[in-house]
Subunit: 378 residues, 2 copies
């Protein structure tokens, strides 16, 4: 179980297979995010049809609502939300730092107030692992502290704490049917990143996550951090870049050795009427699309693009119909999954490097402006 087989490599870009109790993951892979045990506005049937193989859910949210013990009683997360393929839960660390109303960190753990009702709770590495064992995902995460990447001293302290918590997470973990991944931190400081990669790589984790990126640093800083970490990680373990990203980020991440990605962006953008496309990001509320009989993206094979025109989706948005969010979510997720699948094929045939500039040019206009989008997923 949890064996990672490297099938092909082109420069740093990798193709592999990771075995889980709910089936094989063909990497590189993009995971849709189902924060509260549901990928917003989609059924599991939609997810299967658009080719999702791994779904992420959030420990912080599920602990607060409906409660990890309730999920365990209901047979675990797979059974509860009826997702039969591999699942991943995060450690709750990032959400405690980004969503909770207040938080107080000490070396043992974090005390925080729920964003839902202000009630007080405490996460430690042991508690995070216990919750994730109740949830029962195939891949779970060590409890970590995500620092402000622009604060070197804080990044050092947070990294050291993350390392101690990684050891405690390993100690606390009991379920043999879950792969516990360690998390590399260290902000955007190359020395800290290298130190963290070496330390986490020295521990017996079956996979390694790269945390604390896509949290405010520049793209160049993200790429440099990946380039520092990549050669220090063992070849036979999957690497997971947390919370990333845009089509451009996936292309760049795979080129720098990343195997697994997740991000709320495709579904969050969809609920704000924005669609990824191979000709750049579209804001489908725009009056330009009022009579546009084309699909969102003529090169996309998703249900939405096979079935509906931009004019219809624009009408749904304008009429405040929720189906718009569903249809664009299907498209945006499929776009990323198709992109990653295409790149997998390119690496297998050894053509990714030559296609890389064209891919970046084609998909580079999808980053868009993030401002104006609410941080909360609720």
């Amino acid at each position: 179980m949890f064996e990672y087989t490297l099938l092909a490599q082109e420069k740093r870009a990798r193709v592999g297979v990771f075995q889980t109790p709910h089936g094989e993951l063909q990497t590189p892979v993009f995971a849709p995010v189902g924060t509260q045990a549901t990928v917003k506005t989609l059924t599991p049937e939609h997810l299967k049809e658009l080719g999702a193989s791994l779904v992420l859910s959030n420990t912080y949210h599920l602990y607060l609502r409906p409660g990890d013990e309730l999920v365990a009683e209901m047979g675990g997360l797979h059974q509860f939300m009826q997702w039969p393929r591999p699942m991943l839960t995060d450690s709750g660390g990032f959400q405690v730092f980004s969503m909770a109303l207040t938080r107080k960190i000490d070396d043992d753990g974090v005390t925080f107030k729920s964003h839902i009702d202000g009630s007080t709770h405490r996460f430690t590495p042991e508690k995070s692992i216990a919750i994730q064992e109740n949830l029962g995902a195939d891949i779970i995460m060590a409890f970590d502290e995500c620092s402000d990447p622009n604060n070197h001293e804080y990044s050092r302290i947070a990294m050291q704490r993350t390392h101690r918590w990684a050891e405690r997470s390993l100690q606390a973990h009991t379920r043999a049917d879950q792969a516990l991944f360690g998390i590399v931190q260290g902000g955007v400081d190359a020395d800290l990143r290298a130190q963290s990669a070496e330390f986490i790589a020295s521990l017996p984790f079956p996979g390694i996550a790269i945390g604390g990126l896509s949290v405010g640093e520049s793209k160049e800083e993200m790429h440099r951090s990946l380039e520092v970490v990549d050669p220090l990680l063992p070849e036979n373990k999957p690497r997971y870049l947390m919370g990333v990203g845009t089509p451009e980020d996936l292309i760049n991440g795979i080129a720098r050795g990343v195997d697994i990605f997740d991000c709320v962006l495709p579904t969050r953008l969809a609920r704000h009427h924005a669609a990824f496309s191979s000709t750049g990001r579209l804001n489908l509320m725009n009056a330009t699309y009022k009579r546009d009989q084309r699909p969102i993206d003529e090169s996309c094979d998703c249900y939405t693009c096979r079935t509906f025109t931009r004019a219809y989706i624009r009408h749904l948005i304008n009429a405040r119909e929720l189906l718009a969010g569903t249809l664009i979510s299907i498209h945006n997720l499929r776009a990323l999954i198709q992109l990653v699948t295409d790149i997998r094929g390119y690496i297998l045939e050894g053509s990714f490097e030559s296609k890389f500039p064209g891919l970046l040019e084609k998909w580079g206009n999808n980053a868009g402006k993030q401002s104006g989008l609410p941080k909360s997923t609720l």
Copy 2:
């Protein structure tokens, strides 16, 4: 085209087939409502899977947004919303009376202000038919005036106007691929209802709607009105009871000769967490269901009941996840469509009369309290 074949009759209850350009309608039939060219939160795939054969859409809403001319340019309503089976549009009359900000009726038509932006518009029978010809549904409605059922004098005036408008609607109608139905009005006054049924039945409509019920009168008044109208309508034309209803209303309506029903109730209730069931209406937000591993209705074969527990749906509601509305809408629509399909079978085998009391007892607790539900479908 538009031939109605009566296949079986048990007392007043009828089983038939109605031919349309988009296929046969097996009657009795319940039509989900897609007010703004979408049955809220559902894809056409969901609708096909739950067995919907006829979908209603609203002339008033589509005229205002996105505009019937735009829909025509996009190939008509079937093409625009990708619904390949039969469709029905109402005349816009009822919405002008129930939704527009102001309205001024004269013998020629109605001038009203849009509920969206307060702009002024005018519907006449000719205008309603022209809009419905642009939309292109298989079944369209004559322009009518729905009265206050408790105001006899107004009911008489509105009925007379409805009769003149019925003749003008017939005159205005040009498309041979659309069945124009006349509408019987007359409030809850038996004499007016009889007079209206006789008049509308005398005109060359291929089907007849019964309007102005389920608008505030008692169940007894609704039933009596149907009993007055039923024997006066031609046997070889389908009868459509507009805007009805609950499981109980369908059972009672079919027993009184109705062939076609539509109602927003199943989808509107779903978005307010209420589910129809063969053991009575459930409010799935209730904490009772927190750990309930049963489906909404153990006797239901819908996707939601085959797949998800009450506990999961309750979690989605509690976490404000939109998927809850989708899943309950699927169930509520399937429940009504399955009920009508079952009754069709009972009539064919001649057992509806004997099953009638049991059906009413089983489904009678689903009416619930309507109060608290918003009138608007937006």
